[in-house]
């Protein structure tokens, strides 16, 4: 009854949107692993990235695929500053101070973006790449150029992250801090520098996720909230602090959401994350890929 081509199309869409969730969740879980902080404003950093890429393209005519890198660097820097002036002074005080600080960041970033965005672009904007209409016809499947480039870009950056984490000294320090902060400190790791670094990387990944989102969807300054909530579901699903859990969980979540939207209807798309979260919490509250420590 259902053609395989349709199923394949749904799968492809799931992988694309899953990449957004994967990037968000990876950034969140990396930050959590090192700093034991969940940044509730992660979705707003994501939209900052989307908006920067959009502005570079809209105002300067820069190819969005180059703009993404500028945007990643800029948002990464914003993340470093947030860690340095915000989260670091709060470290060691009650956990909820950090939670409340990230809530304050939501208000500041979201409305800062809206202040610039809404008067000029009204409600929604979308990043249009030069290849927006180009399609590869595989006979059974129409593959958008943008999708191919986005997937390659995402996986190249994920590979880069893997090499950084597992093949460099800095990466080892990040993993060490994530496993045992005090022991790493005693081994001479400058954990505060690792905090800044992880927050910067996490934010840069959010900017990539946002740009990706902005290429495939119209977006507004408020569009980051829902993907961030889904990324929370993903990292709970994958186990807080686990990068493989975030990667697998994010992709899987995107695919399942894509099929659920097709079969259950679009209105369930956003609530679905929560239903899944409830199930995981009831059945396996420690997550599927729990970190050993």
């Amino acid at each position: 009854m259902l053609e395989p081509a349709v199923l394949l199309q749904i799968l492809l869409w799931g992988v694309i949107i899953g990449s957004v969730y994967m990037l968000l969740a990876t950034g969140l879980t990396l930050i959590f692993g090192v700093m034991k902080v969940v940044n509730f404003a992660h979705g707003e950093l994501m939209m900052t990235g989307a908006f920067l890429t959009f502005l570079l393209w809209h105002a300067l005519g820069l190819n969005p695929y180059l703009g993404i890198f500028v945007s990643m660097a800029a948002v990464g820097l914003v993340g470093v500053v947030i860690e340095r002036v915000g989260f670091r002074p709060l470290r060691g005080s009650a956990k909820i101070n950090e939670i409340f600080f990230s809530i304050a960041l939501i208000l500041i970033l979201q409305n800062g973006l809206a202040r610039i965005f809404v008067p000029t672009f009204r409600e929604y904007a979308q990043i249009r790449t030069p290849y927006a209409t180009a399609v590869i016809d595989l006979g059974f499947l129409n593959l958008r150029y943008d999708f191919v480039i986005l997937l390659l870009l995402t996986w190249a950056i994920m590979l880069g992250l893997y090499v950084f984490l597992f093949r460099t000294g800095f990466g080892r320090e990040v993993r060490g801090t994530s496993q045992n902060r005090v022991a790493s400190m005693l081994m001479g790791v400058n954990v505060q520098r690792i905090d800044m670094l992880s927050f910067g990387i996490g934010s840069a990944l959010a900017a990539l996720a946002g740009s990706l989102y902005g290429i495939i969807n119209p977006f507004s300054p408020y569009a980051g909230t829902m993907p961030a909530i889904k990324a929370f579901a993903v990292i709970i699903l994958g186990g807080l602090g686990s990068v493989p859990g975030a990667v697998v969980g994010g992709l899987l979540y995107g695919i399942v959401e894509s099929f659920a939207t097709f079969f259950l209807g679009g209105s369930w798309r956003d609530a679905f994350a929560f239903v899944l979260l409830i199930l995981v919490l009831l059945i396996r509250p420690e997550g599927i890929f729990r970190e050993g420590a």
Binding site: F40, P89, I103, L107, V118, L281
Partner: protein, 328 residues
């Protein structure tokens, strides 16, 4: 019971003051616009109080808009479809968010800190979808519902505003006394113990699960009451927009500004933040005002983590501050 009465005697004095001052104010001031702002402060102080009560048991919800919205919807639907007078629906309707609080609390029983916050943060999203899609036939989907007035027809605009003002004030003071009594009773001690150390509370025989659920249920009811009151008096309308992040952020902002885990804090905080908000909104745009509110929150968290009430109380000679728990 008598010992509890003795313990909350300073709170009763404060309550008298809290009721008396705004009531007196009414005699000398007839500015409709100020009456409306203060009515808003009273209603949202109840909302902040409900958040603060859950926080007192260590459950810092980031999804309280769920209860605010459900209370509004339930009360308005009871008034329009079941024909209950709004003044009664306002108290019956919040039983729905109380149930929601019980359910969400049960779901989050094993969760703390980040996990608890992420789940409560996400909970409003599903409630919004349920309200719009699954109960769309009842709730008029995105358009929302018009709410009947709290006071029966026949009053002038000014009289209705004064009525709303007094009802909201009375309910705020009643909520204050109730929460102060809870916080100073054995139940409050259990909440506080769970907040400080769940494991130790469990080890000393405190029924952690029961008290956590109780806190969420009570909190759900009070938040729902605020939502119902708001719907019948100020907004006179409710739409799914109520389940937004902002409405979940306000109560924690009010409570933090005034002083967490004190019954006076949410009231003082709501007043202060609201005055700053009204001031900012008149001089700057809406976005800028929200940025200022965000900066305020960041600064309070960084420099006055215990809120402003302890400072105000110290300035007033420690009035009622003995009940204020020091640590978070």
């Amino acid at each position: 019971m008598t010992s509890l009465l003795r313990r909350i005697r300073p709170n009763l004095a404060i309550a008298l003051f809290m009721f008396g001052l705004p009531a007196l104010l009414l005699a000398i001031m007839h500015e409709l616009f100020i009456v409306q702002i203060l009515t808003f402060v009273f209603i949202f102080a109840i909302y902040a109080q409900s958040w603060n009560l859950a926080a007192h048991s260590g459950q810092h919800s980031l999804g309280h808009a769920t209860f605010l919205g459900l209370g509004g919807y339930a009360s308005i639907l009871l008034a329009t479809t079941a024909g209950l007078p709004p003044a009664a629906a306002m108290f019956v309707g919040p039983l729905i968010p109380a149930l929601a609080g019980l359910g969400l609390g049960a779901l989050c029983l094993r969760l703390r800190e980040w996990y608890f916050d992420m789940v409560t943060f996400g909970s409003t999203a599903i409630v919004q979808v349920l309200i719009v899609e699954q109960f769309g036939w009842l709730t008029n989907r995105w358009d929302g519902l018009d709410a009947p007035r709290l006071l029966p027809a026949g009053f002038s605009v000014g009289q209705a505003a004064l009525g709303n003002y007094l009802v909201s004030l009375a309910l705020m003071v009643a909520t204050y006394v109730a929460v102060a009594a809870i916080m100073k009773s054995k139940v409050g001690l259990a909440f506080s113990t769970i907040h400080d150390n769940e494991l130790a509370a469990h080890a000393s025989g405190v029924n952690v699960r029961g008290y956590r659920l109780l806190a969420m249920t009570l909190s759900g009811y009070l938040a729902g009451l605020a939502g119902a009151l708001n719907g019948h008096t100020l907004t006179r309308h409710i739409s799914p927009g109520v389940f937004g992040i902002e409405d979940s952020i306000w109560p924690l902002l009010y409570s933090i500004a005034g002083g967490l885990r004190t019954p006076e804090g949410p009231i003082l905080g709501t007043f202060i933040v609201r005055v700053v908000w009204e001031w900012a909104l008149r001089r700057l745009g809406g976005f800028e005002s929200l940025i200022i509110i965000g900066l305020m929150l960041a600064l309070v968290v960084t420099f006055f983590p215990r809120g402003l009430y302890p400072i105000a109380a110290r300035a007033l000679g420690g009035l009622g501050a003995r009940g204020a728990s020091g640590s978070r």
